[in-house]
């Protein structure tokens, strides 16, 4: 079974430029997450989708970050305009379902996109 796919793997941009990241979750997984991991820290949630609806975007800096999952499968995360502090690894994860105590909560992560803002 294929894992979570992400592209690009690396991106270097100047501050104030725009950038977009793409994620394709594991087939059949209804829930998709975007996390930001700053060097030396654990990943932190940016946004969570259930199918094509947003269920949690409370930690997303909405003045510059946006995300969509139009057909309930793959997703795009965009930053416009980028700041120096956006330099981080952006991780996409998916899970089959998230509900109560079901074991379908287990999350699987993609390889990440390493963003450097100069």
């Amino acid at each position: 079974e294929a894992g979570v796919a992400q592209s690009p793997r690396y991106k270097i941009i100047e501050k104030r430029q725009s950038v977009a990241f793409w994620c394709n979750p594991i087939s059949g997984h209804a829930t998709l997450y975007w996390y930001q991991q700053i060097l030396g820290q654990g990943p932190k949630l940016l946004i969570q989708f259930q199918n094509n609806g947003v269920v949690d975007d409370s930690q997303l800096p909405k003045d510059r970050f946006s995300a969509e999952r139009l057909k309930g499968v793959d997703s795009t995360l965009k930053i416009q305009p980028a700041k120096l502090e956006d330099s981080a690894v952006y991780l996409c994860a998916s899970s089959f379902w998230t509900s109560g105590t079901l074991s379908y909560n287990e999350q699987f992560f993609g390889p990440g996109t390493r963003l450097t803002v100069l």
Partner: protein, 109 residues
């Protein structure tokens, strides 16, 4: 929000040694996962263990949910075990994982 504390923050072992990593959390959880982040940044699932004990080869994990901690055991460590080990939890009624700050493990030959 929920607090997740991992210890020790750094660990250096000789190949063949055993180790125990600890994860304490501050609230009830219905999901706890252990990950290994390899030097290329990939998060690899080790265990999904909201309670109980599991074993997979040289690795095993135990979560005591009532006492709000989990332990990851690594036996006969190998250089390929090097990297950062993360514990992540999800509170009952919440939606996403909260990660600890990780334990950085270096296994020397």
């Amino acid at each position: 929000g929920i607090q997740v504390e991992q210890s020790p923050p750094d660990l250096i072992l000789q190949e063949g040694a055993n180790s125990t990593l600890r994860c304490n959390f501050s609230d009830s959880v219905n999901n706890l996962q252990w990950f290994h982040q390899n030097p290329w940044g990939q998060l690899i699932n080790l265990f999904y263990i909201p309670s109980g004990t599991k074993q997979n080869g040289r690795l095993s994990a135990t979560t005591v949910a009532t006492e709000r901690y989990s332990l990851l055991y690594i036996s006969s460590s190998q250089t390929t075990d090097s990297g950062v080990y993360f514990c992540a939890v999800k509170r009952t009624g919440r939606r996403a994982l909260t990660f600890g700050s990780g334990t950085r493990l270096q296994v020397q030959p």
